[in-house]
């Protein structure tokens, strides 16, 4: 399992495609100038920025960056939760929320490293709608984020062309589903809610899956309610 090359498999595949042409793209944004370094051959695959909105790009890179955006959001949320834990949290709640924070940080850092120079920027979050002193507000947000994460990975899976990336997405989505079940059980203990009929179709037994722009509100729109740096996925379904 020892990797002799510093570059990971994901980055290796990306740069193999990209080495033929390397370029820097500069975007001027509303008063400030921001430089985003992008190595790209298929420049459409890569993220871009206009009017302050980060577009995740297309293809596998776009899907991985979309996942990276959601993981950034989740990590930031749980870091804030743990930094200002609501009063009355049980030891079990503290343990679960600390564990999930660490998992989301691992996911975030993994995507950043794997995407390398193709990664989107660090997104600024806006949690003004969340009352971090309220258990109900925190757990309801956690539930929404985890369920959204599950449906996002499930929906994007079939558009991933590289099998290794699909397996990686699979490794992460089941952990998000484990989180979702635990958070749902904290909200409605000992009920069917951990895999409730509102998320798992009772007839087919299938979890929800959604492409980034499907539904109203879409996953992109939902994510943007928590983001100061808005994202878009105009080149994904």
């Amino acid at each position: 399992m020892k990797e002799t090359n510093d570059e990971g498999a994901v980055q290796k595949i990306l740069t193999t495609q990209l080495n033929r042409k390397t370029f820097l793209k500069y975007s001027a944004i509303a008063g400030s100038t921001m430089a985003i370094g992008l190595e790209a051959c298929h420049k459409d695959d890569n993220p871009s920025m206009s009017n302050g909105t980060v577009d995740v790009g297309s293809g596998d890179t776009g899907i991985l960056n979309f996942a990276y955006a959601l993981e950034q959001l989740e990590a930031a949320f749980y870091i804030q939760v743990n930094a200002s834990m609501y009063s009355g949290a049980t030891n079990e709640e503290k343990q679960i929320l600390a564990d999930i924070m660490n998992h989301e940080i691992a996911h975030r850092d993994f995507f950043k490293a794997a995407l390398g120079s193709s990664a989107i920027m660090q997104l600024q979050v806006d949690f003004s709608k969340i009352d971090f002193t309220s258990r109900a507000s925190v757990l309801a947000t956690a539930k929404a984020l985890e369920d959204t994460g599950v449906s996002a990975y499930n929906g994007a899976g079939q558009y991933i062309t590289n099998g290794d990336y699909l397996t990686l997405a699979g490794k992460i989505v089941s952990v998000e589903a484990r989180h979702a079940a635990a958070i749902r059980d904290l909200l409605n203990p000992k009920s069917a809610s951990f895999a409730g009929d509102d998320v798992v179709d009772p007839t087919t037994g299938l979890d929800f899956s959604r492409t980034p722009n499907a539904g109203n509100p879409s996953i992109v729109a939902t994510a943007n309610t928590f983001l100061k740096t808005k994202i878009s996925a105009t080149k994904l379904p």
Partner: protein
């Protein structure tokens, strides 16, 4: 009460009190693999012998769905029998077990119809022995044993689906099947999380901790290499957290070695 004791009991039963629990587990698993190869249902056996066990070619979509169907048959019957065993599931947990049972039944129906729609033939349901030849003799009378096996089946199911995702990708026509497989996969993970927590464990898998279950179910879960990167070198969180954050796949052969002892023929 707990599964460690179950496996200790297994060792005692065989008058092998001198061997360690690890040896007992290994022995059970070896028996399991033999049983699995001997007992794989008709139709599935050709997949296993010709493809997955040999690992020379990628199984086709119908082969993979029949493999999934076999696992869903197992889970479906397991929960049906559990719910039919009077006094087994405490009323406090009934909503949980009934919800899982409902999903496994639905997965069986969905997979059968999907296989048929792809012009395939669904494998028929094998005969199951949830005592695994007497190892879990009290599976339907001792709730802790029932939960332990439920935990085993759910975590194995998650790993089984994950292990086939990329194989489905190899079939260009499999787009909708990939989504369905992923949608089942995450449901199994929700189940696994809930059952693990009912047993008093975390909903996620730390390192390759088996919590008294056969070690093969968690083999490789301690991996920290992802996408060619050692995640330990790129994040500040602990190795335990990293292993929790990434669930690992199992091959068909590995899954059948685990499920084999429960399949009679």
């Amino acid at each position: 009460m707990n599964t460690t004791k179950i496996f200790e009991a297994l060792a005692n039963e065989k008058n092998e009190t001198d061997i360690s629990r690890r040896d007992a587990l290994n022995k059970t698993l070896k028996l399991g693999l033999k049983a699995a190869i001997a007992a794989i249902p008709l139709g599935l056996s050709s997949i296993m012998s010709n493809r997955a066990f040999a690992q020379t070619s990628t199984p086709g979509v119908v082969d993979i769905l029949n493999y999934a169907l076999t696992l869903e048959y197992l889970e479906s019957e397991f929960y049906q029998m559990g719910l039919a065993s009077s006094g087994l599931v405490p009323s406090s947990d009934m909503n949980i077990i009934a919800q899982i049972s409902k999903h496994e039944d639905a997965h069986v129906i969905l997979l059968k119809s999907t296989i048929t729609s792809l012009q395939g033939t669904p494998v028929s349901k094998p005969n199951f022995d949830f005592t695994a030849g007497g190892t879990f003799a009290d599976v339907f009378s001792n709730y802790q044993t029932f939960l332990a096996l439920s935990n085993a089946f759910e975590d194995t199911g998650v790993r089984a689906y994950k292990g086939q995702a990329a194989n489905l990708l190899a079939d260009k026509a499999a787009g909708a099947v990939i989504t369905a497989a992923l949608d089942i996969h995450s449901v199994e993970a929700r189940h696994a999380s809930e059952i693990r927590r009912l047993r008093g464990f975390k909903g996620w898998i730390t390192q390759s901790q088996a919590n008294g279950l056969p070690a093969a179910i968690y083999a490789g879960e301690d991996n920290t290499m992802q996408g060619g990167k050692d995640v330990k070198t790129i994040t500040s969180v602990s190795a335990d957290a990293i292993t929790e954050a990434f669930d690992e796949p199992l091959t068909m052969a590995q899954v059948l070695a685990i499920a084999g002892p429960f399949i009679k023929a």
